[in-house]
Each structure stands twice: as C-alpha cells, then as structure tokens.
C-alpha cells in the first residue's frame, strides 16, 4: 500500500497520470484506492518531491 504525505506533496498530479490502474484521484488532496492499488510503485518513482511512500 502507498501512503500520501500532504506536507511534502507539491500538487503536481503526476502520480495520478502515472498510475496504471487508476487507483489515485485528487480533489486537492490525493486519495488512493486500496482495492485498486497493486503496489507497482509507478507513482512513487514519478513523484518529484518524494511525497509517496510504501507503507505496511
């Protein structure tokens, strides 16, 4: 599962564009669907400010 850090997030939205399973949405804050996320880490690699982390 991926955790989103609001303090670090710079709002670029690139994670949403890079998610291959549409698990991420944004209404200003990022929501990550636990059902859809397959832990591929594409969002984490694309984040320019390290606002996404793997969590257990």
């Amino acid at each position: 599962m991926i955790a989103w850090n609001e303090e670090k997030c710079a709002g670029c939205g690139i994670c949403i564009l890079f998610c291959p399973v549409d698990a991420m949405t944004s209404l200003g804050t990022i929501q990550i669907s636990a059902d859809k996320c397959n832990d591929c880490l594409a969002c984490l690699e694309a984040c320019p400010v390290d606002a996404l982390e793997e969590s257990r």
Binding site: G11, I16, G28, T29, P48
Partner: protein, 438 residues
C-alpha cells in the same frame, strides 16, 4: 565507483536545463543532462492520460523566445497561433478584448471603470510608470492600484492579468516588477501560441536536438551531491538505478531549484546573503482543473477571463485549437485558479471547492456535461512557477563553476518559461567565456 568526464553537467531537464544543454551541445561542449524523474521536461512535460494530453505546466510559447531558441539549436518548433478571442467577464457582462493594436489596455480599463475620469486617472498613472519611472518594488500592485481606484472590477481585471502571467495575488506582487515586465514584454514575446501536442513538445524537441548534437540526457538519474574540487572546478555524483557514478566536469548548471542546489553542494559554501536571498524564493501556486465533455461547453474559440470570481480566472477548450490533445469526438478544457494566498498553509479542499463552484456558476450545465479528469493544486517546490515574479536569484552562484537556471534565475521583468530560457542563455554565455571544451 564508476567515474566519467564531461565538460558540463546539467541537473534537471526543465526549460532552463534543456535550453542550457542544447546551447552547450551546439557550441561543442560534451554535455550531460541528469534528470531524476522517469521523464524529461519537469514542469514542461505533457503526459497521456486516457488519450488526453495533459500538461504538467507550460501551456503556451512565443516565437520570439522559444521559437528563436529552437531554430538556433536545430530543434523542431511548430507553434499554432490561434485566433482565440479573449473575453473578459466584467460586472457580469462579456467584453471581447481587441486582438491587437494600440489602446487595448485603455479599452479594457474603460469597460471596468465606473466613469471616464476614473479610467483616465489610471491610464495617466500607467503611462507615467511606463514612460518615466516604474513604482517601487517595496509596494504591492494592489497598493499601487488603490492609490487610483478601489473599483473591484478594475482590481479584478489586474488580478486576472497577473494570475495569467505570474500566478500570484495583486497584494503579493511588487509593483515595480509588474511594470518592468510590461516593458520587457516585447523581448520575451507578445504573441503566444500552442504546441499542437501539448507544452511538453518544447522540452521533447530540445532533448532530441541535444542528443542529435552528441549530448546525453539520462532520466531516472538523481544528482545526490555537487562536489567542489579546488574552488574552480566542480563535479557531481549521480545515482542511477542503485548504481553511483562520479562525474567530473568543468561546470555544473543546475535547473533543480536554488534551494535544492544549495543542499546538493552543501550550505557551507554559500555566504549568508545568498542564503537569505534564496529563502525568499518560493513557488507560485495555482489550481489547474482539466475536464472533458462531449458537446461544446465554452463559446467556440474563446478564452474566458473571469475578473470577479472566487478563484478561477481563466478557462478555455484546448481542443478548439489543438484537437490532437483528446480522443476523437471529445473536448478537452482547462481552468486555472489562483489561491486565497500564495503562502502556505493551504486549505486544499476549500481551494478546489471554490474553483469548482466558479465553474458551475459560469459554465452552463457544468455538472451535467463536464467530466473532471484531474484537479491539482500546484504549490511549494512544484508551484506553477519556481518563484514569485521579482524574487529571482543570479545565474552565477557564489561557487565558481556552479550556475543555477530556471524561471527563478531569469532577469527581472522576465517571468515563467521565457525567464527560464533567458537564464539558460545567460549561463551558457558565461560558460563559453570561461571554459573551453576539453
């Protein structure tokens, strides 16, 4: 550890970085661009999202600035100048902005002013600032305007102009810098156009040109340290896929942002005055909403400019001029909004809700026919621009051989991507003067 040699290493592949690298490669320097993200372009990239081409930042370019650069370095540049009508919604009525010629500002101020005397008073003051001397940097644009009028329609119109070019609020804008920009505007380019496949075509095209001229661009490669060898020579350590590489170079040009650059080289190398100036550099935030629709929702070929909405200052249908940017039969539209304040903390949910409410109020049947694609509140280190207009750093850092580029290092009066291009030009001109290709 692996060691390699280059003449110049460029950190970051945004507009400033790719401009620098392309000019260096053309001048015969062995050039390497390292980019930590898996794609090139930074805030000048375009990504495919379900068939829609969405920009991470840069939307429009000018022939005078971006076009001239591309021609100089042999990069493709196809700008589509549109016949878009800019429409200003002032006091609930729509006024088309004259497309060219003298007196555009006078005409628009005339629409917003309560009477002729008010319009004249303001126009005289503007003329004086342009023809004689600009106002101080110590007063804000809002304070300057309010010496002549407190008419919300006029203040709103200036807020619209400012948000579109500089992404901050009137009260945050140094008045002197606003007028300086108006004077520099002919050099940075007056006629803006779109790149048919999205703003990212600019850096894509520059990257292609860099490679064609023998330069290298490595994505997924993070600069982890800038090392200074003997005070006149710099090198860099880069991590790529878990492997560390040490790169020796005569000069390093960083497009990673001033603060990140300081961190990479180590704070101890910078005098306190530089660090103080650097701390004044802060991202200019903006909310961007992309939405799609099957039927036209916005008057054809119009850019609607709101002057008295809560947050949204502009929206248009991108596919009117660039149908390439959406699947067949679909429209792609974008709206831009300023924030209540450009300084954190930001109430993200409130900002987005207010922006959506503006769209509902101004676009008939928005909820019924528009489908939201993405909503983002660009801020902090990934603000729509790296800095507020007027808060810029010099291209040459106190560390010999280390340059910074980007819109936070451009000359005063230049904003946004033209500033980034100009900073790259300045850095490369200095490199060429001091260092010869090995």
């Amino acid at each position: 550890m692996k060691h390699v040699n280059y003449d110049v290493v460029v950190i970051g592949s945004g507009v400033g970085g790719t401009t620098s690298a392309a000019l260096l490669a053309k001048a015969g320097y062995k050039t390497l661009v390292v980019e930590k993200l898996p794609f090139a372009g930074g805030r000048c990239a375009t990504h495919d999202y379900h068939g829609y081409k969405l920009n991470t930042g840069l939307n429009t370019v000018t022939d005078e600035c971006h076009g001239a650069l591309c021609r100089e370095v042999g990069a493709d540049f196809e700008m589509r100048v549109t016949d878009n009508q800019w429409v200003y919604r002032i006091k609930g009525k729509d006024y088309p902005q004259p497309k060219s010629g003298k007196g555009v500002l006078k005409t628009m101020i005339g629409h917003a002013a309560n009477d002729e005397a008010e319009a004249d008073r303001l126009m005289q003051a503007i003329k004086k600032c342009m023809a004689w001397a600009p106002p101080s940097y110590s007063m804000s644009l809002d304070e300057w305007l309010r010496e002549y009028t407190d008419n919300p329609a006029i203040l709103g119109m200036f807020q619209n102009y400012l948000a579109a070019a500089g992404a901050i609020r009137n009260s945050e804008m140094p008045a002197g810098e606003y007028f300086r920009m108006m004077k520099e505007i002919d050099a940075s380019g007056r006629i803006w156009g779109y790149l048919p496949g999205g703003g990212g075509q600019l850096t894509d095209s520059l990257v292609k040109a860099i490679k064609k001229m023998g330069g290298e661009v490595c994505t997924g490669s993070t600069a982890v340290q800038i090392k200074v060898r003997d005070g006149a020579d710099v090198g860099e350590k880069v991590r790529k896929g878990g492997q560390s590489i040490e790169i020796a170079a005569q000069a390093v040009i960083s497009d990673a942002g001033v603060k990140r650059t300081v961190d990479l080289a180590g704070k101890d190398l910078f005098p306190s005055g530089y660090l103080k100036d650097a701390s004044a550099v802060k991202g200019a935030p903006q909310t961007i909403i992309y939405f799609t629709h099957d039927r036209p929702l916005i008057e054809a070929d119009s850019v609607i400019c709101l002057t008295e909405a809560r947050r949204v200052f502009m929206y248009s249908t991108n596919t009117n001029s660039c149908p390439e940017r959406a699947p067949k039969g679909k429209h792609l539209s974008g709206a831009a909004a300023y924030l209540e304040s450009s300084l954190p903390p930001f109430d993200l949910k409130k900002e987005v809700e207010m922006s959506l409410q503006d769209l509902r109020d101004n676009i008939p049947n928005f909820d019924k026919y528009a489908q939201i694609l993405t909503i983002r509140v660009n801020r902090g280190d990934w603000g729509l621009m790296k800095t507020w207009p007027g808060y810029v750093m010099p291209v040459k850092t106190p560390v010999v051989g280390l340059y910074t580029v980007g819109d936070d290092c451009g000359p005063l009066g230049w904003w946004c991507s033209p500033a980034a291009v100009q900073s790259g030009r300045q850095a490369v001109a200095d490199v060429i003067q001091r260092y010869k290709p090995a």
